[in-house]
């Protein structure tokens, strides 16, 4: 995600060494270290295949989609604890709507997106106008969505609708050129719809954050909200829009999740909001706001997939080691963030 600079005094090195990218570099480097370690240890049993790599995306695609919105929320200096509940609610709406009421998933999907965006606008407004801390506001949103979810049904409802089956079964199989002939890559590697949506959202998020006035405003609000106000930026509109976009991402992630599990359950994705937040934080997004990049978040998601993959390839370790490693990683990143922040502070003084 390099930006094009026109400054004549800049050398390529100084562009690359721009301190604003430190966190993203840290994420990419740690991902590479772990990946290369895996490649050396388990390369012979398929760790380096393209399929394994694509699976890094597949495993957490729905978290990744949600993390795009979460990254934006975190950049404004806020937080959103309602995302997983909204995803769960989306699943429940689609499942209950079709299986119990016979409503086409097309309508329930649209409805969930409306609900996600609506809840986002509501929470964003409360945060901005009523000055309720984001943590509290979105915790309320979390309970609300989870509550409605449980109100609809307290059992898992499976979905068997042709559209859902079709979308869930959709995949792009990758080919490569062998002796002038297009052949399927072995082992067979294919990209599912959630992965496509994930990558698309990362690209859209990057364009939105780096190349639009709106994105610039989001960073400004996160950097110093008071200043942003005095610079005449539309702070209210920006903050509310960010929560609305995050609501959209949550609902979209919920749809992606339905495509994976093909059911709705009121207890689905419990604690998922923390997974989403940790993806963004491991990806270099500062919890204090103002700093974060979509590409970093993408690598954050990949990092959260590569660790369990290592454990699977090892075959002997308890899978909970994955959680422990992720926890350690998260801690490491928070320490790095703190170090970077205090270093820049010291430089200024």
């Amino acid at each position: 995600m390099r930006e094009k600079h026109a400054g004549s005094t800049q050398t390529l090195l100084s562009r690359i060494m721009n301190p604003k990218y430190v966190m993203v570099y840290a994420t990419v480097i740690i991902f590479l270290i772990i990946y290369i370690y895996g490649a050396i240890r388990y390369g012979s049993i398929g760790f380096t295949t393209l399929r394994t790599f694509v699976n890094f995306f597949t495993d957490n695609a729905y978290y990744g989609i949600s993390a795009v919105g979460m990254t934006m929320v975190l950049i404004t200096g806020g937080i959103d604890l309602s995302v997983a509940s909204v995803q769960s609610l989306t699943g429940m709406l689609i499942a209950y709507g079709y299986t119990k009421l016979g409503i086409s998933p097309v309508y329930t999907m649209l409805l969930s997106i409306l609900i996600g965006v609506g809840l986002g606008i509501l929470m964003g407004s409360a945060i901005h106008y009523l000055n309720v801390p984001p943590f509290i506001t979105t915790l309320t949103g979390n309970f609300l969505a989870r509550g409605v979810c449980s109100l609809i049904s307290r059992e898992s409802i499976s979905i068997d609708h042709p559209l859902i089956n079709e979308l869930a079964g959709f995949k792009i199989t990758l080919y490569h050129l062998v002796d002038g002939q297009w052949e399927k890559i072995k082992p067979i590697t294919s990209i599912s719809l959630p992965v496509l949506i994930f990558i698309l959202m990362i690209i859209l998020g990057t364009i939105l954050m780096q190349h639009t006035r709106f994105g610039r405003n989001v960073y400004a609000v996160g950097g110093n909200e008071q200043s942003a106000k005095l610079m005449g930026l539309p702070v209210a509109r920006t903050k509310i829009a960010v929560y609305a976009i995050n609501g959209f991402c949550s609902a979209l992630a919920g749809i992606a999740y339905v495509l994976v599990v093909k059911s709705g359950w009121n207890m689905a994705l419990q604690g998922g909001e923390l997974e989403v937040i940790s993806c963004a934080v491991i990806g270099g997004t500062l919890l204090t706001g103002g700093v974060g990049y979509m590409i970093g978040t993408m690598f954050g998601v990949l990092l959260k997939s590569v660790i369990p993959a290592l454990i699977t390839f090892n075959g002997h370790l308890n899978s909970w080691w994955g959680k422990i490693a992720t926890g350690a990683l998260l801690l490491l990143f928070i320490v790095i963030q703190k170090a970077v922040v205090s270093y820049t502070d010291k430089k200024k003084a």
Binding site: H5, H211, G222
Partner: protein, 504 residues
């Protein structure tokens, strides 16, 4: 500079609940002039500026911009009309790049374009910096320049500079002045607010003086002298200020504090000092010379690794500020905002903090006692506030400083350490703080007075200790004469220790 006024404010009145903040104030600004806006804290300068920039709304009066009447409703609205403001605190986003900071919220946003234009703009400000770096990467001075660049580049007709020089050093101030001169040539009218009188004479064409929300007058800089100016600002005779004298110490004054060979690695190498009862000892020296660090060691905020401290003939061990408080030492720190006030608490709560700490949490002050304490000091120090329950963060700098002083006076200390108590406050409040210090000395309290302004150190001190590179470089005994300042500067510059015989 043309005679044509781009801005005319007439009969401006603003009323806040209970207070008339501005009462019939006129102000005019010509194209291409620097117009200084002067007055003590609370005189109405900020209110006038906020009225012009749409933060406050006027209750009466008219504002004419280029002859047309305007009513700014918000900062954004004011900016659109060509009125830009640079505040004392840098109101930019540290995480955005320099270029982004200049252009955020404006039409251009493509990186390629804004980086190029920002680089050109910064060149005009004689700064050759990489505009793609985050703002936080650069020093305060550069950040200040960036905020001015932003303000100017928005096709400003009027530029308001509110205390822009308070965090700049001498060279940076000169740089700012040369930029201001360039802007004048472009026909921009500049409203300049500062506490530094010298700077007014260096750059301004005219000045408007406010006092207690009323207009004192508008003058040509050439027609009014400095002394006259200060008198007009505070509305009191200058003698009140400049006739402060060090207190006469008692012949048999006992020792208050003796510090022997105290030092802390990285801060102070080694220092010994002795302070008598009722004596005011001034600390002179450059920033980072060990003035503040010595004070912190005595107060236990920075624990000395060597040496002994004796209070009133008794060796005391001061490991933490609480020990110091219990031994009758009080300390007003340098950074009022960060280490002094607790902005969200009321004046009453801020005053009682140290007393309460001294009494211990098992013996809480009753609300009655708190109120009495607060009222007593509000009256004694003439703190300008409607009541004791106002948040301290909403007071002006001078009044905040008085509250902090009250906090420590309330503990009835034997030794009061004041680190830069007069920084960033206006002349009148400065004089009052100095008067309070001297009054305390009369009552037998010893005072350590740290200040970067040599004049006031010389004016108030019985004795001056000069610090240099973490050690005592010299000591001058009063009374002082006109030559003292040069001698101090010489000691700071050379580090000679031959100052003892001086001053007599």
């Amino acid at each position: 500079m043309s005679e044509k006024c781009i801005l005319e404010m007439k009969g401006i009145e603003i009323e806040f609940p209970g207070v008339k903040a501005l009462d019939g104030v006129d102000f005019s600004l010509r194209a291409g002039e620097v117009h200084a806006l002067l007055g003590e804290n609370g005189a109405g300068k900020s209110t006038l500026i906020k009225c012009l920039t749409g933060v406050h709304h006027k209750d009466a009066g008219t504002i004419l911009l280029d002859g047309r009447e305007i009513t700014p409703v918000s900062p954004q609205h004011a900016i659109e009309m060509g009125i830009s403001t640079v505040f004392q605190e840098i109101n930019l986003c540290p995480n955005l790049t320099v270029a982004e900071n200049i252009f955020v919220g404006r039409k251009e946003f493509k990186h390629r374009i804004i980086n190029k234009r920002a680089a050109e703009l910064m060149k005009r400000f004689h700064l050759d910096i990489d505009v793609t770096r985050p703002l936080s990467y650069y020093s305060t001075a550069v950040q200040q320049m960036v905020s001015i660049a932003r303000a100017v580049d928005i096709q400003a007709k009027i530029l308001i500079l509110d205390e822009p020089t308070s965090s700049l050093d001498e060279n940076e101030v000169q740089l700012l002045f040369s930029v201001m001169r360039d802007l004048k040539k472009d026909g921009i009218g500049i409203i300049f607010i500062t506490h530094f009188l010298d700077q007014i004479y260096a750059i301004s064409d005219r000045m408007t003086i406010l006092r207690n929300g009323r207009l004192v007058g508008c003058f040509d800089v050439k027609e009014i002298g400095k002394l006259d100016l200060v008198t007009k600002m505070i509305g009191k005779d200058m003698d009140v200020i400049f006739n402060l004298h060090p207190t006469q110490m008692k012949e048999n004054a006992g020792k208050m504090l003796t510090a022997e060979h105290i030092g802390a690695p990285g801060a102070v190498r080694e220092i010994s000092l002795e302070i008598k009862e009722g004596e005011l000892v001034g600390f002179a020296g450059l920033l980072g010379s060990g003035r503040t660090e010595t004070a912190q060691m005595i107060f236990g905020a920075n624990r000395p690794t060597q040496g002994t401290i004796t209070m009133k003939g008794k060796t005391v061990e001061i490991k933490k500020p609480f020990d110091a408080i219990m031994n009758g030492i009080a300390f007003c720190p340098e950074d009022r905002k960060r280490d002094g006030i607790i902005g969200d608490l009321s004046i009453r709560e801020n005053i009682m903090l140290a007393v309460q700490a001294k009494r211990g949490f098992m013996h809480p002050l009753s609300r009655q006692e708190q109120n009495e304490l607060a009222d007593k000091y509000i009256k004694a120090l003439s703190i300008a506030t409607p009541d004791a329950e106002k948040k301290i963060g909403e007071l002006s700098g001078g009044n905040q400083q008085k509250v902090i002083l009250a906090r420590w006076m309330a503990t009835q200390p034997d030794l009061l350490i004041l680190d830069e108590p007069t920084r960033g406050i206006d002349v009148g409040a400065k004089a009052e703080i100095q008067r309070l210090m001297l009054e305390m000395c009369e009552d037998g309290v010893s005072v350590i007075f740290i200040s970067s302004e040599l004049e006031e150190v010389i004016r108030c001190s019985n004795r001056i200790i000069i610090m240099r590179d973490g050690a005592k470089a010299g000591e001058l005994e009063g009374p002082f004469d006109a030559d003292t300042q040069n001698r101090i500067l010489q000691i700071i510059a050379e580090g000679s220790t031959g100052g003892e015989e001086a001053g007599k």
